[in-house]
Each structure stands twice: as structure tokens, then as C-alpha cells.
Amino acid sequence: MLLFKLAFRNIFRQRRRSLLTALSMAGGYILCTFSFSLSEGSYNNAISFFTLDHTGHVQIHIEGYVQRPKIHKTIDDPQRISELLDSRNSVAAHTLRVFAPAIAYSDTDNTPAQIIGVDLQRERSTSTLEQKVSSGSYISSEPDSDGYYSAMIGAGISYSLNIGIGDELILISQGADGSVANDIYIVNGIVGDRNSLDRGTVFLPLQAAQEFLSMYGRVHEVSILLNNEGDSRSEAASLQGVLPELTVEPWQVVESTFYQSMQTDKQGNNFSMGVIIFIVFVGVLNTVLMSVLERTREFGVLKAIGSRPGKIALMISFETGLLASLSMMAGVLIALPIIAWFTAIGIQLAEPMNVGGIVISHITGEMSLYVFGTPLLLIILFALLISIPAGIRAARIAPTEAMRSN
């Protein structure tokens, strides 16, 4: 207790030195936090971007569908699954989808197309489909007055068939029962541009697709968005337990190629973060060593008047720890608004980037306990670790020698 008071007083006694040391540590903290925020942010933003596009965080299929998609590999009771997911807290939203290869015809041309039947309502909150509509509108799921359903087509199909908003689109495919699926749809929306991933896709309302393919009430895929992306794997495992007859997989498995390249990226990032932490460490080393060793003379005097080396060393560690904590508090206070700004608004790019219909205009970071807490713990740890040997050394020097030193 006495030591604590002493340490406290010492800090304020040596105002300048303490201030310098504290500023240095606080500054290091703020920069460290910023870089963590950047690193986490860019990694998570990329994942978020990709998973929101169409994958979702977790997907449910019948076994073997992902490896070899076949029209008959269906989930036959999506109702039950929807109810389950709607009532589950960790799930933010989910949607149902149907897939089939087809040939699309206009009056004069034909081209292969991928049909994706989606639950339009649910799709809105689970993926960015609505934002990708580049002309026309996000279609309705109801047939029009003549009984025709609407379709949204990729820009590639629009180009190949030379059709646009309001034109008729014929789709031919094979139904789940083997029959010849054929029907006419009205194009009411165009998605993306000619370079988009969706350029060869025809989006239909789920029911229309199910009717077309003679698969009433059945779907191929349930795509789930969680409240927390980080839970993808655990949530998938948990859901798998509840749905043993189906295959529930996190996005890392479904989109393994993307995941692999993200991991590569992360590795490079981790290296950079490691380097930054190292430099922060050196900075703290620099600061603490300087401030402790500067006071050798002072400690010499203390020893000369009878203080025991152990106590001195302890006091040094206390002081350093206390100082580090105080500077961290200040650091957090200053870092909070900065990181908050960075997360919410971010640094503007010289030119906004267009990725398949979605526009990225800023680099943003992330706020989390990890971002704020890790640098804090690290710096305090570094400071303490450094102060111990430094303090011991300072405390051991013979008083006469100490008092002669600079």
C-alpha cells in the first residue's frame, strides 16, 4: 500500500518524464489499435462483401448437392427449416433457392442460362440482390394480369438475346420429374453488368421456378445470414446437430477457394501486424528503459539511505505498471472516437471501386474488444516485463557508483 502511494507520488513528481513516457505509450497504443482495426476491418469487410453477395454465412443442402448439383437433390420440407431458423436467435435472416440449367430463348436467339429461383422477400434481407438491379426493378413474385411471371436477367443474357425490360423470355429446361419444362416470362429487371458474376443468370420468383421445374414446395438451398459472421463454423455445427439428415456447412467450406485466398491474405496481414507490435514493443522498451535508467542516481541515493534493493525494484515495477495503465486509459479515450470514425466512415478512396454492381468508396475498420483490448494488454505487459529486469539492475548498483552516474 505504501509502495503504491509512493509510486503514485513519484509519477507526479517527475511530471515531465512521466508525461513523455505516458505520451509515448499512449501514442503507440493508438497507432496499434488503428492498425488492428484496419487489419480486422479489411479482412472482415472482404468476407462480409462476399458472403452478402450470395453465399450467406451458412448453407443447408441435401447431402452431395454442393459437389454434384442435380435437380433431384432437394430439401423437401423447407417449411420446417424456415420455422426453425426464424425462431433461432443467432440467425439474422435466411432465404430459399432453387437452381437449374436451362436454355433461354428470345424470338431470334438462344443462349444457355442458369435459373435461380429465389424467395424475393427473404432475399432482400439475406443478400445484395436488390442492390444489383441495374435497370428495371426488383421484380414482384406475383404473376401479371395475363398470368405471366416476371424475371430478372443478367446483363449477359440481355445482350446475347437482345432483349430488355418488358420483353418476353422463353425458358426450356428439364423438370425434376423428367418432363420438358417450358414457359414464358416477362423481363422486368436487369441485374449487374456484362462483367458481373450473374451475367448468365435468370432470377425467377421461387414459386414460379418451382412450378416450372415441377418441384412444388421443394428447394435446393437454404442460405443463412447470422448476426455474427464469426459464429459461422459453430453455428453450422450446431444446426447440423439439429438437422442430421441434411448437410449444413459454413461459408468457409462452401466457398473454399475464396476462403483459401483470404487465408493467404490474412497471413500477410498477420506478418505486418506482428511487425507493428514488435515496433511498439521496441518503442515501449525504449521509453521504459530510458526513464528507469535515467534515475539510477536517484535509486543510488535511496539505497544509500537504507532502502532495500528488492523494494526499489518493486517500486519501479509498480510505477511503470501504473504509468502504463494511466496512459492506456488516456489512449483508450483518444482512440475510441478515432476508431469509431474509422469504422463508421473510414478513409475515402481516391476513386470508388465497382465490384459487380456494388460500390466501395471507403476503407473502413472495425471496432471490437479485440481491437481495443489486445494492444492495451500487450503494452502493459511489455512495460511490466521490461521494467522488471531494468528495475532489478538499477536497484543492484552500488550506491556510490549510482550516484556518480548520469
Binding site: D177, G178, V180
Partner: protein, 265 residues
């Protein structure tokens, strides 16, 4: 990657063969069922020729039922078909009701479908004419098999009291997926009993069985053809000729026109 985008397109183009015109196979079945053999054994050749001629005439018309069995569904289709040689054919689906009226016209290598539901005639792109047909057990090899040229197979002939067995082994250059094909022919009626397809190791991969002989215009013809793949559990395709007429009087050129294709049925 560039490959992903390319892939999707090509895959779609050729995958749709999976839903390819179901009727094309019938036409080709009739014309390509028996590949033309090489000249090694005269008697064998004669036999093969006779088998081939069994289902063909200058022109023909037929009513057939096709049953496709898969582990996922069983599908039965009834259709009427007319043809002149192997170049012109016209097929119309009679049942199930959903597909009733779907018609196909084939002239040489071109094909058109009429789909009554949407009241449109669409041309069938070449890609759709290949590949596994509509989940059935016939392969593109059957459809586009060009081994009707001579000198493609080596033949040997065996016989018992009741049966001829003709074994066809493709030559080195012959384009086929089969390592060996054999025919078992009933001596008494001179009709095929079974046709078996083997891989290069001699393993039976699929077999076609002919049964239920009926008399049509003086010829004894097996009216039930069953194709069973050995490597796919639960799959089978059965073709049953309900009616078959050779050189019928009412089959003339006007049937094989776009006009007829479009006509309401």
C-alpha cells in the same frame, strides 16, 4: 478466374443436354441401334444387316410407350412417330397430359420442337442433341454414334441350337466407348434377344433386352426393349412398341414440315 466464367457457359451449353429433346433418342434408336459391322464374317454381317432392317423400312409409323425409371421418379410417355428413312422424322407426345402435344421435327441434322404450352417453335441447338438423354439410360454415344461406317468392328460368330452370338470388337481407331458389344439372336425368328455392352476389361456395363414378339405387317418384331445400366442402381429405360407399320400409306412428305409441326393437335 477466367476459367470459372468460361466454364459456366460451356457447362450450361452442354449440360442442358441432360434435359435434351427426349424424342431425339427415339429417332436415333431406330436408326443407330445396330452399328454397321466390318466384313470379317459374312454370315455375321448378314445377320446384323437383317437385325438392322427389322425396324426400318422406306417409311414407318409407330405408337410407342417409353418408361424411364430412376431412383427419383418413374416417367411414362406415350408417343406417335413417323419417319422416312433416317433423315426425316416426326414425333408427337400423346401422354402424360402435361407434355401432350409436344412435337419434334427432324430433317437431317436439324431439329425443331413445338411446345404447345407456350405455343412456340424453337430450334434445337446442336449442343442439346448430345449427352445423356433426359435422365434415361441412353448415352450420347447412342445418339451421335458415327460408327455406321464400315471397317469399324471385328466380328466373330458363335452358335448354339437356338441362338447366334455375334461378338463385335471395335478396331483400334473406332470411336466408341465400348470395349466389346455382343448380340444374341434367336435363330427361329431371326430377331435379337439381347445386346450387351462391355468395357475394355470385359465387364458388362449395360444390356439391352428384346422381348414380346409380335407380328407387324408380316414381320416378327420384339416390341419390348429394356435398357439397363449395370453401374447405376435403380435405373432402367423401357421402350414398348404398341403399334408399328412399315411403308404406311398415310406417311408422306407433308408430315415433315414446319407447318405440320405448328399445327394444333
Amino acid at each position: 478466374m477466367i476459367s470459372a466464367k468460361v466454364l459456366t457457359q460451356h457447362r450450361q451449353l452442354y449440360c442442358t443436354a441432360n434435359m435434351a429433346n427426349p424424342l431425339y433418342i427415339c429417332l436415333l434408336l431406330m436408326s443407330f441401334l445396330f452399328p454397321n459391322p466390318a466384313l470379317a464374317d459374312d454370315r455375321a454381317i448378314e445377320l446384323i444387316d437383317e437385325m438392322e432392317a427389322l425396324y426400318q423400312g422406306q417409311s414407318s409409323s409407330a405408337v410407342m410407350t417409353m418408361i424411364v425409371e430412376t431412383p427419383q421418379y418413374q416417367r411414362e410417355m406415350e408417343m406417335e412417330a413417323s419417319s422416312i428413312g433416317t433423315e426425316k422424322s416426326f414425333i408427337r407426345i400423346l401422354s402424360p397430359r402435361k407434355d401432350r402435344g409436344i412435337s419434334t421435327l427432324k430433317l437431317d441434322m436439324e431439329m425443331w420442337n413445338f411446345l404447345p404450352k407456350i405455343n412456340r417453335v424453337i430450334k434445337v441447338p446442336p449442343s442439346m442433341m448430345m449427352g445423356s438423354w433426359m435422365g434415361s439410360d441412353f448415352t450420347n454415344d447412342d445418339l451421335v454414334n458415327q460408327t455406321t461406317l464400315t471397317d469399324e468392328y471385328d466380328l466373330t460368330l458363335d452358335e448354339t441350337d437356338e441362338m447366334y452370338t455375334i461378338v463385335l470388337v471395335p478396331k483400334e481407331e473406332t470411336v466408341t466407348v465400348w470395349g466389346k458389344i455382343d448380340y444374341i439372336v434367336n435363330k427361329e425368328y431371326m430377331v435379337p434377344v439381347s445386346q450387351n455392352f462391355y468395357d475394355d476389361n470385359g465387364e458388362l456395363v449395360r444390356k439391352m433386352e428384346f422381348s414380346e414378339l409380335k407380328d407387324f405387317s408380316g414381320r416378327m418384331i420384339p416390341t419390348r426393349l429394356e435398357m439397363t445400366p449395370m453401374n447405376k442402381e435403380g435405373h432402367q429405360t423401357i421402350l414398348i412398341y404398341e403399334e408399328l407399320e412399315f411403308d404406311p400409306p398415310d406417311v408422306d412428305e407433308s408430315i415433315f414440315t414446319m407447318r405440320n409441326l405448328r399445327s394444333r393437335f
